[in-house]
């Protein structure tokens, strides 16, 4: 069975179904979808660290990388980055072959297209988590840790800032992620996010020092059909 099965089924809209009662063909295909995706995907990520400071006289104004690099006005981001001096800009993608595979399955059978799409969503999330884990492990050596991913479009962090990620991380060139006129990303399974870097004083023994809380449980939309089990 695929380690992602539960997530795939959740993104396919079956989060509330009892797994024992799910048609085995759906479960089989969820597993197969992950396998096929891993066969064709080209996951890539890129990062860059920028300084962050508040902008004097601008309520909830944040300045990244110094003058004339990137300014943002956002209350939720200001709260999220409270106490950080540095921020990690992060972008990741599964590559265009994944879009192609989803489209191909959708053209052949929409139920399979849906599950393929869900599997790709689960995979990009899992890939991002993996990247972040490694980045955090590196940062731990300097007694630093990463806050949860915060993407343009979360809270009042305007989605138009997607363009700044494209520009600052040179995404078309580095990982092949391009914007559409509507401000979306292609390939479709791509993520841009920033993560505050915070310091901790004492090194902890054990695996890894993290302050991550997963995003989904935090969301206020309690009736969401994609919500992770409560």
């Amino acid at each position: 069975m695929s380690w992602l099965r539960e997530e795939v089924l959740r993104y396919a809209g079956m989060g509330r179904a009892d797994e024992k009662e799910i048609d085995p063909r759906i479960i089989d295909f969820a597993d197969r979808a992950v396998e096929e995706l891993i066969h064709v995907y080209e996951p890539r990520c890129t990062t860059k660290i920028f300084s962050v400071s508040t902008i004097r006289g601008v309520e909830n104004g944040l300045r990244f990388g110094g003058f004339d690099v990137m300014d943002v006005t956002s209350r939720s981001l200001t709260v999220n980055l409270q106490g950080c001096e540095e921020v990690l800009f992060f972008a990741a993608t599964l590559g265009i072959e994944v879009d192609r595979l989803i489209r191909k399955y959708s053209a052949r059978d929409m139920s399979q297209g849906l599950i393929m799409d869900a599997a790709a969503t689960a995979l990009i999330e899992s890939y991002c988590d993996g990247c972040n884990y490694r980045l955090e492990k590196e940062l731990n050596k300097e007694y630093k840790t990463l806050r949860p991913r915060f993407s343009p479009g979360y809270g009042d962090f305007d989605v138009k800032h997607q363009r700044d990620f494209i520009r600052l991380l040179d995404l078309p060139r580095t990982i092949g992620v391009t914007p559409t006129d509507g401000g979306m990303l292609v390939p479709a399974k791509s993520v841009t996010a920033l993560m505050g870097i915070s310091r901790f004083k004492k090194p902890l023994y054990g695996d890894i020092q993290r302050c991550n809380i997963h995003g989904c449980e935090e969301c206020l939309k309690k009736d969401c059909i994609y919500r992770r089990n409560i």
């Binding site: 509330r16 879009d99 053209a107 929409m110 092949g176 391009t178 509507g182 979306m184």
Partner: protein
């Protein structure tokens, strides 16, 4: 004084410069800053970099015009013309100052053309023509400013490369160099491998090709060797200074100039003719490779003479064995296919593509000619849709020259062209297109006097075709001769003539051959018997490609069996893989359990094959309308209710929908046969709005609405308001479904609704998508917010009945 670079190519190793961005960063470029603007704001800094590279030994320096396109420069206050001309001028000034009129030294300025920064359709939102226009503007400015070379570099998408090269070739006479960026697996960002890139670039007439950026010389070398083994063109290598690593906010590269030069020296021995550096390399790197490689003798290029076509991802070559070309995408004699073309039902055409791919076709022939449809538009549509989901190269099959040109222009890769013949008129029309866009053309041995009855006569026409092609500058390997087969029912010798001609053409002209095999049996009963055996005979005579139906078991058996018998299938492994099950398979057994499943049960459980079988059984005895209204709709309603109640989940709903669709296909086929009419429930236009590329939701809605009998006009994704309005007006549509995923694209939805209300006030609009809510829908004046696919069915029933 000026000396064409092409004269110098091959005489000595030529050196490119190194990284420009790397050097400008040291001079204070900010993160995310558009460095091309420095051509005007800080020309001295750019000039300095050029001078340093020239002093280090560069023969070709690239003007700082990498991303100087209209999209990137938007809002900067500068025009493309200004930035490009200033960029070329800075480089020219450096050439003049360093290599001056007083020395013998020659150096060239290359205009640098990089990716647009947007992805082209079908996955991105940029039109091929829009990319072409961006490059055209740059090319005109660069040529006007006096650049010596047009250099397309760091490319990651074959389709974008094609737009750039056409823009160059159609707007100036300068030499074209093209380099692409591979990842370590040897793939471009959009999936092309080395052979696909080489095939397309040679077809488009590039003067030198190569690899740059992305990798260091160590990782690049195997790919360079591969490219050298495939191409007959000079090869360029411009690697990064190793692999990048992030140190704080700086990018650093992991190898030293010495290590860099070591590998470059090896690549010079491999056969590279032009070399330089990309990201992370500095004048030091260039100086060192110049020192080490300038005196080296170049390895001569051997002509490869391989017949190859390509798709966006891979090439198919005709040297490695017989190639099957699938013939099924063609309306001739197929009423269902004709109906699909008339309805614009591209999905149906795609299924034919999938089935042939599954059956073993390596190339798909595409013919959509039908008197009552606009062939040019339809072929463009079918071809681009096929290329979105099937990676096989295509054979463009049309008799209309405009349609042929359009298809070749927008094809992603190097296509196969069906066809030219020995008539002067045909050759004069087709060959210029082959020369311009690249392609492997099928030449039919007929001319003004018809089809010669003898093998020698057909050879003569083949010779005429090959000679004419050479005259047009087309290589011999880009011609495949089809000696034609006539039915044996009217001339019992015709198969022998064809086979003799086939052998003769191969021997005398040394070209590859192809045949449309099934003509041989026209007018005879049980045609497959004749076709399959004739196919084996032709294979035995060395037939290189055949246009056949790969879904025919008999034909494929000939193919696999021939390969096994002819020693072309080591260990018979392909044969075994395809036939190992054959001895155990019993004649078509009824569904498990001995009893066949009822149509309703099959749909409820979402079993496509069972639904198809049950419906096929029913249709003999039951009225089609009775099956729809008495069986299919009630069970669909029942599953839909379950979905709304939360007992049936979305994937199950869709499985039932797909099963019902399989049943409807049976009914439609039957109605075509009997001439019956399906009840007209009304048309619905659906689209994902402008700027939005997520169409899963829209596609789900489509499947469900179709099952309820509505005729869906699916305009796809990223659809402009005017396109939607046009379709609605033209077809007098009463209901439109719009989907948008993000807040940024809801604006486009609002605009669409507004335009619709002005032009067609009697048309209702339902909207859905992740960010939409009831309130949002009200705000943008939609008639209905549909929270899920079933809700869209209910609203359609409300509006259209």
């Amino acid at each position: 004084m000026k000396y064409n670079i092409l004269e110098e190519l091959g005489k000595r190793m030529l050196f490119f410069d190194g990284g420009m961005g790397t050097m400008l960063q040291k001079k204070g470029v900010k993160p995310g800053e558009i460095t091309e603007i420095w051509n005007i704001t800080r020309p001295a800094d750019v000039y300095d970099v050029h001078c340093e590279y020239l002093s280090a030994g560069a023969d070709i320096i690239m003007a700082n015009t990498f991303g100087a396109n209209a999209i990137k420069l938007e809002g900067t206050g500068y025009t493309v013309d200004e930035i490009v001309k200033a960029g070329v001028a800075n480089a020219q000034r450096a050439v003049l100052d360093v290599c001056g009129p007083d020395t013998d030294r020659k150096a060239w300025v290359a205009m640098d053309l990089a990716p647009t920064g947007k992805l082209l359709k079908p996955f991105g939102t940029m039109e091929f023509d829009a990319a072409y226009e961006l490059y055209k503007e740059m090319v005109i400015a660069g040529a006007d400013a006096g650049a010596d070379i047009m250099m397309v570099e760091t490319m990651g998408d074959t389709y974008e490369i094609k737009a750039a090269i056409l823009a160059i070739k159609e707007n100036c006479d300068l030499p074209v160099f093209a380099t692409v960026t591979f990842d370590e697996k040897g793939k471009l960002l959009t999936g092309a491998n080395v052979e696909a890139v080489v095939t397309m670039l040679e077809g488009l007439g590039a003067d030198a090709i190569g690899i740059n950026c992305g990798l260091g010389p160590v990782q690049m070398r195997p790919l360079v060797q591969q490219m050298l083994s495939l191409t007959s063109l000079p090869v360029i290598v411009n690697p990064n200074a190793g692999l990048p690593r992030q140190e704080g906010d700086k990018t650093v590269y992991d190898i030293t100039p010495e290590q860099f030069a070591d590998v470059m020296e090896e690549m010079a021995a491999d056969g590279v003719w032009l070399m330089g550096g990309c990201c992370g390399t500095t004048p030091e790197y260039i100086r060192l490779i110049h020192d080490r490689c300038a005196g080296k003798r170049l390895k001569p290029i051997t002509k490869k003479e391989i017949t190859r076509v390509s798709s966006y991802s891979h090439a198919v070559n005709f040297e490695d064995g017989h190639v099957i070309i699938g013939e099924r995408i063609n309306p001739t004699g197929k009423s269902r296919f004709k109906q699909a073309l008339r309805d614009g039902d591209i999905d149906y055409v795609l299924q034919e593509g999938f089935a042939q791919e599954d059956a073993g076709a390596k190339i798909l022939d595409v013919n959509v000619g039908l008197p009552e449809i606009d062939e040019e538009q339809m072929l463009y549509r079918v071809m681009t849709e096929l290329q979105a989901v099937i990676d096989l190269p295509l054979q463009i099959d049309t008799a209309d020259i405009n349609t042929m040109e359009t298809a070749l222009r927008y094809y992603n890769g190097k296509a196969m062209i069906n066809s030219v013949n020995g008539k002067r008129e045909s050759m004069d029309a087709i060959f210029p297109l082959v020369k311009k866009y690249g392609g492997v053309v099928v030449g039919l041995t007929l001319d003004e006097k018809g089809i010669p009855e003898s093998a020698a006569g057909r050879l003569e026409i083949a010779r005429k075709i090959v000679d004419a092609a050479l005259y047009y500058g087309i290589k011999k390997e880009d011609i495949i001769i089809d000696v034609l087969c006539m039915t044996i029912s009217s001339d019992h010798n015709s198969a022998q003539v064809t086979l003799d001609a086939l052998e003769l053409v191969k021997k005398e002209l040394g070209v590859k051959t192809s045949l449309g095999v099934s003509n041989i049996s026209f007018g005879l009963p049980a045609r497959e018997n004749i076709n399959a055996n004739f196919y084996t005979m032709a294979l035995q005579r060395g037939l290189d490609a055949a246009i056949i139906n790969p879904k025919s078991r008999a034909m494929m058996t000939s193919y696999y069996a021939y390969n096994a018998l002819a020693g072309k299938d080591p260990n018979c492994s392909e044969y075994i893989a395809n036939y190992a099950d054959a001895q155990t398979a019993a004649p078509a057994a009824p569904a498990a359990g001995g009893e066949s499943m009822s149509l309703e049960k099959a749909v409820e459980r979402g079993m496509k094959e069972a639904a198809h079988a049950a419906c096929t059984a029913l249709i003999a005895s039951e009225d089609p309308m009775e099956i729809i209204n008495g069986r299919l709709i009630p069970v669909l309603d029942q599953v839909g209710k379950g979905f709304e109640a939360g007992t049936v989940f979305l994937p199950q709903l869709l499985m039932s929908a797909e099963a019902a669709k399989a049943a409807f296909a049976v009914i439609r086929e039957e109605m075509l046969k009997t001439g019956g009419q399906q009840e007209d429930k009304g048309k619905i236009v659906i689209a994902t709005v402008k700027g939005d590329i997520h169409d899963i939701g829209k596609n789900i809605v489509k499947v469900l609405l179709e099952n309820y009998g509505y005729k869906i006009i699916d305009l796809g994704k990223d659809v402009a308001p005017e396109t939607i309005v046009e379709a609605v007006v033209k077809e007098d549509v009463k209901l439109v479904g719009l989907s948008a995923l993000m807040t940024t694209t809801v604006g486009a939805m609002e605009e669409t609704i507004k335009s619709l209300a002005e032009v067609k006030p009697d048309c209702k609009v339902m909207v859905g998508g992740a960010v939409l809510t009831e309130q949002y829908a009200d705000m943008i004046r939609a008639d209905k917010y549909v929270r899920d696919a079933m809700a869209s069915v209910h609203f359609a029933q409300e509006v259209l009945g």
